[in-house]
Amino acid sequence: MKLHIKNVKKNFSSFRVLNGVDIIVEKGSFHAVLGVSGSGKSTLLKIITGLESIEGGQILLDGKDVTHVPTETRGIAYVFQSPLLFPHLTVKENIRFGMEVKKYDKKTIEERVEELLKLLRIEDLGDRMPSEISGGQQQRVSIARALATEPSLILMDEPFSGLDPALRIEMGNLIKDLQRLLDLTIVFVTHDINESLRLSNYISLLDQGEILQSGLTHEVYYKPQNRKSASIMGDGNWIKGIIKANRFSSSFGDVSAIGFPTGEAEMFLRPHQVIIGESRAAFKVKISGISRLGKETQLTVAYGEEFMKIDTFSNENYQINQEISIMFTDSNCHIVPCG
């Protein structure tokens, strides 16, 4: 189902939480909404379900305005931040809940429950009470419960934030597989950059109640429209320069910039897009900072007045003040004209 969030405004008393949010979620996409804590992510999801009212704007599902349709008839699934399993019902009874509300026949319900238990790899837990299973298992049950009635749109509010990192990745992969397998449309809210990169094919960046940028995840990641968009998704290097005659030139040399207007501009590179190695196009820089993160090493290098961040998987024993050669390819470079 296609979801269109149109110019949505939301206040809590006099405090404006969402200030004209626009997002289009395509059918069959895994759409992440990335934003820091307090940016209004949960509020946005609750608005989509109708659990929160809005002061302005519209929610459209497949082109139909559902802004004033009550929650229970919107047919949207929502996986909350915590599993929220009904504590007095068994795992199976929890999964059945939505189907019983919608009066599915008994046989369909039983078949579907078995299918979901298998799909989420919790076959053996069907008759347990929520208090008798682990947090990760609970969250899987809550996902099964959400999927049971085959909703056309699924909202997920940081569903794995309570889990340890390994389980978190495993659950993410599971959801991603399910999404492909069942052709689900998912809106996934998170403040975890890596998670959003790993799972989503579309992303919207939410900052202080506004959408900074929306689009294909790798586009938004590698081609941010401004510094703020770039920094929400992680470290990056902005290199000042000038565009002249279809070339961008900076202290790091020239790259092609066809179709850009003449004038001041900046070039953007993620730290891992900078390559360490010798070539004719390479530059000599000096290492001014090193931080080792296990298999990855982050270097800060100085070149004249400028600093740059570099991520490398090389296990060479770098030293402060060591000189290294770096380069980057034309196709990696994202150029943003100033002003």
Binding site: T49, L51, T71, E72, T73, G75, I76, A77, Y78, F80, L84, F86, P87, H88, L89, E93, F97, G98, V101, K102, R145, T149
Partner: protein, 295 residues
Amino acid sequence: MRKFKPSNKTNKYLLALPILLIYGLFLGGGLIGVAIESSGYIPALGLTEVGMAHYMNILSAPNFWSDLTYSLYIAFFAATISTLLGVYMAYRLLLSKHKKIEILVKKIMQMGMILPYLYMVFLVLILFSRTGLISRVMYNLGFIETLEQFPQLFYTPSGAGIILIFVMKGVPFVTLFVLNIMGRIGKYYYQVAKIHGASDFYILKKIYLPLSSTAIIWSSSIVFIYYLGAFEVPYLLNSNKNVNLSSRLYSLYIDTNISTIPDAMAYNMLLVIIGIIAVVVYSQVLKRIVKGGGH
């Protein structure tokens, strides 16, 4: 430091021991005294003949069984209506989006709860009697042509006025008692169930009733047993025809003829036994209804 584990049964009972001892001593001691006197053994009054005669006196009295039925009728209806309204109010307050109204309603309920029964009797009489405020307003607005057209709620065999007062006292008690638990359960399950397409009533029945069943059963049973034993309101508002057991007992108590004392004591014992049986049956039935919601 070792954490206190409430699941440890022995510990729990040990902690309750002092209270149990005190209550056991007073109540148990009192009850034994009553039991002895009810058998007819009161040497101070020169009564030493022991037996069940006084119980027989009461059980064979012409109005005992109709009094019992009437008492159970009042207690059952007052408790049931209080429970239905109280649980509904608690659920509404839980879901309320208007903080100010919620606080106001809670304050009114707290006042209603601490207001003594006798005040409530006056209040209800002023409002609901045939010459009361509501009747007069309706008369002046032309809804009724004479004050006699307003339904007679007091001193009638239906006991409507008594039930009304009990309900007005019972609803706040059940509401606040149950809301305390529902508040702890929180609104999230409501939201989850809403998302799955459930109606408010369905959610109450399947989620909030079973989850707050203990509070509902307790508060409802407490008001039930209280109404079964309460005497002052029925004593003031009974019709001549029907009298409830506790008012009858009170009449026996204040009888100046001291030879009725063993009868009063036997009556007392019977009331205790009836009360225990009735509340056990009442709470078991309620348990079935409330917990049945989940399946």
